[in-house]
Amino acid sequence: MAKPNSFLIIEPLEHYLSYGSCVLHEVVQANRRSGQTIIELVGEEANPENVKNNLQTLDVGTVVGVGHGNVNVYTVECTEELVRSENAEQLSLFKGRIVQLNSCLTAQVLGPALIAAGAVAYVGSREPFWLYAAEEACASRAVRSGFLAEYEFTASLLRGATAGQARADQLKRYEQEINYWLTGEGKNHPNAAEVMRILEMNLDVSTFLGDETATPTTPARKIMAIPILLVGFVFVGAVLYKGMR
């Protein structure tokens, strides 16, 4: 697998993609941990060449992107093509990585092709992914809700979960968001009916492929071990120093 603790986040803005990208940015910032390398490519930075260069030079363990898609293709900013299932060179960019493509239809052909080409795990949609755009991007819970559920997979990976645990967390978050609008605090919101239906459809077509045991981050206990070792060295040093006096 590629470098652990490293994430490439693709956040295009055009053609309604700002609705997803603004939530993805929030989710990444809220869940990132010390010791992680996180590259966010926003707007024009999320062009095919730049994404490709970052994938090759940084060798990140996890790639997450929102973009327009079809059964065999995923696109980035301005619907420019990044990867197509028939292109082995493009597919190889994702080898050894956990991949979340928040896009329409890619789970039909592109997702399986990525796994066949060596991607560790894949999450995406096998039918259209819907978003609710009655207000500006990120303006309210109603327009953010669908993406909060979808990106719980990324949030959970950032917190140190395995791909399988992250998938379970994502499905749980979908149910929580649906219940928020159906019987919870949001039930009397004027747009509750539309938002919960979009959540239900996106949940229904959500697809996970690959290795559930894959972990994108080094377990926290290894990081915790560093200060303990430092304290140990100081203690031993102090004892030796005292002995020499």
Binding site: G69, Y132, A133, N188, R197, E200
Partner: protein
């Protein structure tokens, strides 16, 4: 299920759901609000509707289910302002639907329309399962 449980079920539902047709008896569609009123009055219809809730059944065949789902979606979408608000992130030509455009897809039984109609049937089951 007692009358109180039907009342509790009704109270848990969102305001919109309370007035959407959900149950069918003898070809007539009833909303949760009408159902609760009939149950409170202790009518034969109320007992029938209560039994459907207990069984988590709409009281329909498959064709009626589709019709019921479309009726519900019409009731929801017709309230909305006519502006693009339902978007799919699909292909090189992203599509944003106004409520009327989406209703046209639903009525035409297009692939997009079927996705919404089939989801509505699942949603109706979810509403009936609220306890």
């Amino acid at each position: 299920m007692t009358r109180e449980l039907v009342e509790s079920w009704f109270n848990k539902l969102s305001i919109v759901e309370r007035d959407l047709p959900l149950l069918i008896v003898s070809g007539i569609a009833y909303t949760p609000r009408t159902t609760l009123n009939e149950v409170k009055r202790g009518t034969a219809l109320g007992k029938h509707l209560q039994a459907l809730i207990e069984k988590k059944s709409f009281g329909t065949n498959q064709i009626e289910e589709q019709t019921l789902a479309k009726m519900r979606l019409r009731d929801i979408l017709i309230r909305e302002p006519e502006k693009p608000m339902f978007v799919t992130i699909q292909g090189v030509a992203p599509r944003a639907y106004t409520p009327k455009q989406l209703l046209t897809e639903i009525d035409a039984n297009s692939k997009i329309g079927r996705q919404w109609t089939n989801n509505e049937i699942s949603h109706m089951r979810r509403v009936l399962a609220v306890r």
